[in-house]
């Protein structure tokens, strides 16, 4: 998504520190995502009051409380819908949506698909740990087949959703994957996602050290391969991105899968917003227009 035109003259990590410290388990992947978001905002020098961080419900959805921007900690699965309304009412704000895989791909799956096809101008970061954490360890939409959890003690028999393929199919204009264990790389992806004009989707492997004993840091580390290090990979090629998105196993690509910049954003496509953000407008309908509305009925 696009940045606010206004840049803060000076911004430090300390400015972005929330009022309380995260209550995540020690070692949780979400710490890395929080640090990377703070770093990205500092590097882009976006004033804290022009950023709104919006989340749903879950461990990772506690995120807005841990960062000093405007924040909304909304309902389970609904963050993208809330964010869409907020962005359309004031498109001058930089909108970050944060949440987990259950929140985004399970209960919020419908809004996920539709927000992407609408090309709402925001960055959506999913802290994907392939498990429900806050409810103490149940199967999530990204849990792999065979994974044993409290809700599927004999192993998951349902195929997981592939967030990258889904995002590509639904029309997201920026699709990327990061790994909480790769801070610099992740920070770069967040910056690109913020700067992209349109819907930026960033799925982040954010291991759950308490409930997911399959997909750990140790499991991911040798498998993740940065697309940026592949000299022939072209992130403008949708078909190539779709092919790459299917890779899973010994090699799991991370990085920017896809970006296109030729699709108008939702707020950019709506002429009602040509005269500026709605929140700054006079609420009154001009008298001549009001008169014409009544005369139509006579």
């Amino acid at each position: 998504m696009a940045t606010s035109a206004q840049r803060a003259s000076q911004l430090t990590i300390a400015d972005l520190k929330g009022k309380v410290d995260p209550d995540w388990c020690p070692g949780c992947g979400d710490f890395g995502v929080l640090a990377a978001v703070q770093k990205a905002l500092v590097e882009l020098r976006i004033p804290t009051h022009n950023v709104v961080t919006i989340s749903g419900i879950g461990c990772s959805s506690n995120f807005p409380g841990y960062i000093n921007t405007y924040g909304m900690h909304t309902l389970h699965g609904r963050a993208l819908a809330v964010a869409t309304g907020l962005k359309l009412a004031n498109h001058e704000l930089t909108v970050l949506v944060t949440g987990g895989d259950g929140d985004g791909f399970g209960i919020g799956g419908n809004h996920f698909v539709h927000s992407m096809r609408r090309n709402v101008d925001l960055l959506y970061i999913v802290m994907d740990n392939q498990i429900y954490g806050l409810t103490t360890g149940q199967t999530s939409p990204t849990s792999r087949i065979g994974m044993k959890t409290k809700s599927m003690p004999f192993g998951n028999i349902e195929a997981p959703v592939n967030p990258i393929s889904l995002a590509l199919a639904a029309g997201a204009t920026f699709v990327a994957r990061g790994f909480s264990g790769e801070q610099k790389h992740l920070t770069e992806l967040i910056k690109q996602g913020i700067l992209h004009q349109g819907f930026s989707f960033l799925d982040v492997f954010s291991p759950c050290v308490t409930y997911n004993h399959d997909n750990t840091y140790q499991w991911f580390r040798p498998r993740v391969k940065k697309l940026e290090e592949d000299s022939v990979y072209d992130a403008a090629d949708w078909t190539g991105a779709m092919e790459k998105s299917l890779l899973w196993g010994d090699e799991i690509p991370i990085g920017k899968f896809f970006e296109r910049t030729d699709v108008p954003t939702l707020h950019g496509a709506e002429p009602v917003l040509n005269e500026g953000a709605l929140v700054h407008r006079d609420p009154r309908v001009p008298p001549d227009v009001a008169r014409s509305f009544v005369e139509e009925l006579m």
Binding site: N68, G71, A83, G85, H111, P283, A290
Partner: protein, 596 residues
């Protein structure tokens, strides 16, 4: 009884029932007449049966009435269903080529039109409709030029040939009636008044625009979709962002997001969609972001009867979302009130930062009424409440640490800063939180703070109650019977009271507009001096009666209820009151005689 004239046009969907209705409505309106239109229809695009009633007169028309003066059946089925409704003095105009009349009551004039002789039916598929309009107009004593002008406007887009042809057909019908049919005893009056004709849905949409709504979104659902249609068609002129959303869960959440950014935001749905919005309403209350949600009730439960009216969602509204939270619920009393209620509701929810629910129903949403254009005031008072939209006020520039979004105050209202304002950065949460927004739900639970926040939010109800007007009794205070209704039944109860008075039974009316807060004590005070009380409502279980009892312990003498999908007609109430006063029953459920 004030003199009125009612036309019933009946046919299959797709046969063109709406066009003659529009033409008559325009002609009546231009004669300075009031009108009230109600369309009984079905959830079908082609076929089925549609029955449009247009009632007109010089004075305000408050209901569809009891009588049809002119019936225009467009097919045999319509003739078979409705001819039996006509009584002495009424007339029925029909296509003699295709429709057999059947037995009519004494004094009913049958007016067969030899359609194939009067018009070229191979060229004009709706010739029978146009002929009937011409014939009817002559019988009402209205000069042909009024029709000629409306037809010109109607067919202008289709070219001069179409205009000339249709005027010719209408003229043939007009002249045929002059030669063969007897005109109605009283020609339609004419006044100098000018009215706007609109549905409740249009009224609520316009009311939103007048209130300064800048964001509207919806998922299509009968009978609320008309609000979306008006909003979408007028969005660019009015500067309103209008979106169609993937579902009603998305609708309420998007509305809250927009409201949170600082604009007035509204959405509308029917009972099923409202059920999906329930969790979102709790969020609006918890994060204290005001929104207005309209529920256009239809006959439930579940998919129910999508094109029929009911007042069956009161308890859904009262109980929507879990937990206790401040909410406001009001039911508009008529179509003009659909407009006026919206700015009023916005002022209250903006001041008290909570959700406001408008409980409309199909009868008002899709009915049409003539309204004095002065009632459609686009300059109503706008009170945004304690909203902080910029930093640096007389009290100096705030810094992030100082601002407490949920500051505990005596009124329960905490000044609300919108995102983008420097010095007021904060996070709102659906989790319970303390004054600065920090959660007290997970790590730092605290019973004392939780209690304080609950009491802060709920204290707002005290202010809301003071801001909402008390209900008033209309009619003679010493009347023999008091009819109690809420929302859309205002007009029909009013008319029933008039009829009862004419028949020697004095009746007055207590119509409730604000449902929450209810002003229970004021209601009790009024009803204390009532001699016989009857609650009239469009549902099975007496939802309002049960609510009133739960709030005040008041038990009425009787109930009149209807839940067949069709609205009350005045005689339903009149006859029920009489049987109850005679001690025959305490619960009357009038049967709807019109088969629609």
């Amino acid at each position: 009884m004030k003199p009125t004239f009612a036309i019933g046009i009946a046919g299959a969907a797709g046969q063109g029932v709406a066009t003659p209705g529009d033409i008559f409505a325009k002609i009546f309106s231009r004669r300075g007449l009031n009108l009230n239109a109600y369309n009984a229809y079905q959830s079908i695009i082609r076929g089925g049966h549609t029955f449009l009633t247009i009632r007109t007169g010089a004075e305000k028309i408050t209901s569809m009435g009891d009588r049809i003066d002119l019936l225009i059946p467009l097919n045999q089925d319509s003739m078979d269903r409705h001819l039996r409704l006509l009584t002495a003095g009424a007339a029925c105009i029909y296509n003699a080529d295709t429709i057999q009349p059947g037995a009519a009551a004494a004094g009913v004039q049958l007016c067969p039109l030899p359609v194939s002789k009067l018009a070229d039916i191979t060229r004009n598929k709706v010739a029978q409709n146009t002929l009937a309009i011409g014939a009817g107009l002559h019988m009402m004593g209205i000069g042909f030029p009024a029709l000629e002008q409306v037809l010109q406007e109607q067919f202008k887009k289709k070219g001069e040939t179409m205009v000339v042809e249709n005027i010719g057909v209408a003229r043939a019908g007009y002249d045929y009636a002059a030669a063969h049919f007897t005109a109605f005893v009283n020609p339609l009056p004419k006044t100098e008044n000018r009215y706007a004709i609109l549905s409740g849905n249009i009224a609520m949409a316009m009311g939103g625009a007048a209130a300064g709504v800048k964001f509207y979104c919806a998922y299509p659902m009968s009978p609320s979709t008309g609000v979306l249609h008006w909003m979408a068609a007028h969005a660019r002129k009015a500067g309103i962002m209008v979106r169609q959303v993937e579902d009603e869960i998305g609708v309420i959440n998007m509305t809250i997001g927009a409201a949170h950014a600082g604009v007035r935001a509204m959405c509308a749905t029917s009972g099923g969609g409202f059920a999906l919005m329930s969790e979102g309403l709790g969020m609006s209350a918890m994060i204290e972001t005001p929104v207005v949600v309209i529920n256009c009730q239809r006959a439930g439960p579940s998919t129910g009867v999508p094109t029929k009216t009911e007042q069956g969602d009161l308890w859904q509204m009262l109980g929507a979302a879990f937990g206790d939270y401040p909410r406001v619920i009001a039911a508009p009393l008529d179509i003009g009130d659909c407009f006026q209620l919206i700015p009023e509701m916005f002022n209250i929810v903006d001041r008290f930062q909570c959700p406001g629910l408008v409980l409309c129903d199909l009868l008002l949403s899709e009915g049409r009424l003539s309204v004095d254009p002065k009632e459609l005031d686009f300059g109503p008072a706008i009170d945004r409440g304690e909203l902080i939209t910029s930093n640096g006020t007389s009290s100096g520039v705030a810094t992030d640490g100082d601002y407490k979004r949920y500051r505990i105050t005596e009124s329960g209202i905490s000044p609300r800063a919108i995102p983008g304002v420097p010095g007021h950065v904060h996070t709102v949460a659906t989790d319970e939180h303390q004054e600065d927004g920090i959660l007290i739900s997970d790590e730092f639970t605290d019973p004392t703070k939780r209690r304080a926040m609950m009491e802060k939010r709920m204290r707002k109800m005290v202010g809301i109650e003071a801001a909402v007007p008390r209900p008033v009794l209309s009619g003679r205070p010493d009347a023999g019977v008091t009819l109690i209704g809420w929302g859309s039944t205002k007009g029909v109860i009013e008319e029933a009271c008039e009829i009862l008075c004419e028949q020697g039974i004095t009746a007055n009316q207590l119509q409730i507009r604000w449902l929450v807060p209810l002003h229970g004590e004021a209601i009790l005070e009024i009803l204390q001096s009532s001699r016989h009380t009857i609650i009239v409502e469009n549902n099975y279980s007496g939802q309002f009666a049960r609510y009133l009892r739960s709030e005040t312990s008041f038990v009425p003498n009787g109930h009149i209820r209807k839940y067949d999908g069709e609205p009350f007609m005045p005689h339903h109430i009149v006859e029920a009151v009489k049987e109850q006063l005679a001690g025959k029953t305490k619960l009357s459920v009038p049967a709807h005689e019109i088969m629609v």
